[in-house]
Amino acid sequence: MTIFLRTLISGLNLGSIYALIALGYSMVYGIAKMLNFAHGDIIMIGAYTGIVAVMTMNFPPLIAILTSILVCSLLGMLIETLAYKPLRQAPSLSVLITAIGVSYLLQNLALLIFGSEQKAYPTLGAFPGFTVLGVKVDGMTVLTLTVTAVIMIGLTLFINLSRMGKAMRAVSEDRGAAELMGISVNRTILITFAIGSALAAVASTFYGMTYVYIKPTTGSMPGIKAFTAAVFGGIGSLPGAMLGGILLGLIEQFAKAYISTLWSDAIVFGVLVLVLIVRPSGLLGKKRAEKV
């Protein structure tokens, strides 16, 4: 029972981190119609930014987090402008390969600046936990879960109700028609990247505090897992990304606790394959019923 509850809690913690990354992944995919494979590496950059902000610049925790968000948003916008925007008319395979290139570029840049040795992410504060049924729930998990839920709700409201959010949905559906309305497609996609990258920065904070050690390749595994989570939940759907992330974290931790640490990733991806066979558009993905 204790193992079960402990696994549940660590699964929720990991799952929320995946969910945060998956939200950004899914949003960029839904609106810019591309798989930004460099999304995971933005987390790595965010984590290093946090380390530098606290250890070198001596920023207080909150300012350090905000710095990380700012740096990641700007980086996301820079990548979109320099790497993806020129390829707007190009075949999607070219864009995908470019994204993989950007991913390696960021990793090597980090290698050059920070070296290959892993660095420790600073503790940004103590989060007192509490005990339920004899199991200690740490404050970190509660915080991660809460922040992720709040962000998901905020993002959904933004996409559904704000003028910019509606424009994003319009661009997602038909770029040409959106242009005809006077919506700037480029600006809309740029803002999407800024938001997605900001979410990655928030994820990097939680990732750093949970897993502590950061190295240049830190972002790739969570990136791939979050992509899986996004597909699992239904790519393009924000509640889907949230659900997919949480489920993925739970499956991974339960597989580790009850089956095998070695096999956990295989089990995670196996479940993905099963879900996609039964529901090709993911758990909450839209089955498009379009009228011509």
């Binding site: 003028r163 509606k166 424009a167 949905r169 319009a170 559906e173 038909d174 040409g176 028609a177 959106a178 242009e179 005809l180 309305m181 006077g182 919506i183 700037s184 497609v185 839209k286 019923a289 379009e290 009228k291």
Partner: protein, 236 residues
């Protein structure tokens, strides 16, 4: 000065020369129609004016201003709106959100008034305001597309085959609507396959054949021309 003037525009898709040396104009308050068979280059012409396509040479003037290289996203603010071929309403946005997108460039305090205007013109849309665009019938989608384009109070409204795929009774309604808009002072550039209906509402018409204008004249004159009758009106 013409409201819209195209001067010897050439448009290509890669190596395909779709529009060749096209010149025409639309004056303030007119309904002008471009008619022609499938693939004549009608949509290409409209999309080029709307900024979705670009011409390799030639010039497009709107209210005397050179808009040849102005991107689509900036033309609404200048007073140009288009209902594209196939309507292209946002299927996953609600009816009201579609209209709001039509008013994307309108002052935010003005949007409510424009919505009321649109609903007065198309009461059916008001009933369906919360429904997704994709759930509307073909005729309702066409009305939504027109209402959406009118939200910006365009100086020139371009319509690409508004009657496509509609039952005869709806076609009649759409053309009544076009006459009505015209009477209220909207300038319209209309592209149609339904030459009979288009020529009856138009002040002037241009006939396109494989990317070139082969004839032009008043709507009435073309309706009565024997060549046009046999080529486009399926009559003797």
């Amino acid at each position: 000065m013409s409201l819209l003037k195209a001067e010897s525009i050439h448009v290509y898709y890669g190596n395909i020369h779709a529009v060749k040396d096209l010149s025409f104009h639309v004056d303030e308050g007119e309904i002008v129609t471009l008619i022609g068979a499938n693939g004549a280059g009608k949509s290409t012409t409209l999309n080029t004016i709307a900024g979705l396509l670009h011409c390799r040479s030639g010039q497009i003037l709107f209210r005397g201003e050179d808009i040849t290289h102005v991107p689509a996203g900036k033309l609404v603010r200048k007073g140009l709106a288009m209902v594209p071929e196939g309507r292209r309403i946002f299927l996953q946005l609600s009816v009201e959100e579609n209209l709001q997108m039509g008013a994307y460039c309108v002052d935010r305090r003005e949007v409510e008034t424009r919505l009321e205007e649109a609903y007065a013109l198309f009461p059916r849309l008001k009933e369906r305001r919360r429904q997704d665009g994709g759930t509307l019938s073909g005729g309702e989608q066409q009305m939504l597309a027109m209402a959406r384009a009118l939200m910006s109070h365009p100086g020139l409204l371009m319509l690409d085959e508004p009657s496509m795929g509609l039952a005869p009774i709806l076609v009649e309604q759409i053309f009544d609507m076009i006459r009505d808009l015209h009477q209220k002072g909207t300038t319209i550039l209309l592209v149609e396959q339904n030459a009979q209906a288009a020529l009856s509402v138009a002040d002037r018409a241009y006939v396109l054949e494989t990317g070139r204008i082969v004839t032009d004249g008043s709507g009435q004159a073309l309706l009565e021309s024997p060549e046009i009758r046999s080529a486009y009106l399926g009559g003797e």
